[in-house]
Amino acid sequence: MPTKIEKDEYTGKETTGHEWDGIKELDTPLPRWWVNVWLVCIAFAAVYALLYPSIPLGSTYWKGILGWSSSQAVAKSVAEMNARHAALMKRIGELPIMQVAADPKLKEVALEAGRIAFAENCQPCHGQAGVGRVGYPPLDTNFWLWGGTLPDIQRIIMYGIRSGDSKAHESQMPAFGHDGILKPAQVTTVAHYVATLFGIEKPGPTTAAGYKLFEDNCAACHGPKGQGNQTGGAPPLASRVHLYGDTLAAIEYQINTPRGGVMPAWHTRLDAGTINSLAIYVHALGGGE
């Protein structure tokens, strides 16, 4: 601090006593109101730090006098939201699914609840909006292994496919090539025949032989025209949509070493209202029967 207060002769203001090359700095303190606001902010911060979680203390932290936590706040608001919809969701779960779908108000709620539940639970395998990918069936087209009506879809979601649940759908295609039921040449012949069923190949000299093999080995499950069988979970072969690919190599691979996917049973994880909502949402994706 300068001992002698010096006044600038031009402006009449006090100077700070600092001088650079003959230029003196005027003493222009911050406005009082500004300083006051600043002090109030400091006081506010101190109170805030006491009330709310603020200071890290090694492996723990100061939890605040109010005991507030953001994760609890989220859990609370989620619980509040669920409680608000509880009555409707309960009703969606209790009513037979066809009745839910017939009630415009319930259906609207179910579609929205289903959309959210689908994104959380189903999308990782079946893709956004149920477009599917290799090994995971698309849900938005008319390709159904186990049926595409509302009760069919509801049952699949509840008990799953090959999930180990006693009511789950089960199917197993014999490994015709791997187990030696058909010789490699026969596998190739029947594969060429299957390829004609959905138009990637034209009928040729081996088609008749292939049809014979198909009739003997495949038609029992997949149907004489390759139309599939939903009670046994046998996919349609005369189809442009295929679970494991529509190339000749994919067909041969499937005849040699068949694959079958697993879908978990959801009735142990989701409540009835969510399952019915999911079924209605999936049915509305475009493929529902």
């Binding site: 402006t11 477009v131 087209t141 442009r240 949509v241």
Partner: protein
Amino acid sequence: MGVMETRRRVPKADQPPAQSSSLYANRVRVYPRAVKGLDRRIKWAILAFCLGVYYLLPWLCWDRGPGRPSQAVLLDIATERFFFFNLEFWPQDVFYLAGLLVLGAVALFLVTSLFGRLWCGYTCPQTVWTDAFMAIERWIEGDRNERMRRDQRAFGLNRQGLDKAWRKLSKHAIWLAVAFWTGGAWIMYFADAPTTVVQFWSGTAPAPIYIYTFLFTATTYVLAGWAREQVCTYMCPWPRFQAAMLDEQTVTVTYQAWRGEPRGHHLKLDTAAGARLGDCVDCMACVHACPTGIDIRDGIQLECINCGLCADACNEIMGKLGRAKGLITWDTLARQNARKAGREEKLHLWRPRTFVYLGVLLVAVSAMGTALAMRPHTAISVAHDRMPLFVRLTNGDVRNGYVVDISNKMGRPADYVLTLTGPKGLTARPAGVMQLHLPADSIKELRVWVSAPPESAHGSQKLLFQLHNLTNGEKIRYESVFIGPR
């Protein structure tokens, strides 16, 4: 242009500036004096009309049939509708509001180029409410001199102090009551008026109604009671650029300096001494009457709101002195300059500037009017599914999904036929030709799936949604796309 003259004093460079170099100046309180005259009467009439419309319009009823709002002017936020007498606007009609603002702006330009800031002086809400608040003030506290005298006194338990106290208290109480009525009336434009009043006083109205009523009460009280001319001078952008609409042919409130100067009130003395004085007796009546506290004799200036009260005040004095009225009058700068030179000049109201403004105004009015008259009452909007763009069906067909929204903007139910045309061999679910029925004033959302055989489903093609309103005959269409593999 030279018509604007600021009164700010620029410090001379060779002198040190004054000790206080603060950028802020304290407000000089304005105590406008009451005046009588033609301009004042017109101003009262416009004030009564504007406030009457504002306060009473929400209570006007308009029958729209059962179950529909019966308020003539209602901006219904909950149902997203704006009702204006027999018109009904939906949120997507908001461009009419833009059109209305354009109209308002051009009309303001036209009026300003013809007659100066009439808007500021007569119809601006700030002016109207300030004027009303000043009238209340004058009624309770008396005219200029009495108010100034009383403000000098202190509050206290003597006769004068108590007199000041009760008058100030009553003034602010009445101001607050008017402000509350103003804030409350604003809410009535957004919610059914009688219902809201009952809800308000029974404590059952939604919180926003209380919040906004309080907010608009506060702003009215502060702006019209306390801020007054400071809003025009410091807050409002219009005075800053209205000069661009004025020119020397604009009719504004004008002091006829050629006639008034040199001013002076020692008439007999000066005449005896041989000095020739003008008609202005320098009585300051014009300054004392001014609601913004300026001296019109300094010429047209930023603070002048062109209300003409100074002209009324001057005419009173001129009348008493037996001199010709109109020393302060409505005139143009060009005519004043001509008179000064001893010539007479005609009014030139119609100049290129005003023709352009009028032309733009007429174009905007006719465009808006046509758009409003030909406004469709049916709307269709189609959203093509993007995830996925298309789906392959087991028989090889390609399917696209759409969300179709159909709006019935009529106040009655209507029947429609929706027809889809697109790629060869298309099939649609629910159907390619659909009969629809929509209730009055409603939107229907449809999920539509369209499939086409593989041979006609390549790349992106047009898919046309045609909607025929059987009830009023309107036909509209929406062109969407049908997408297949390349």
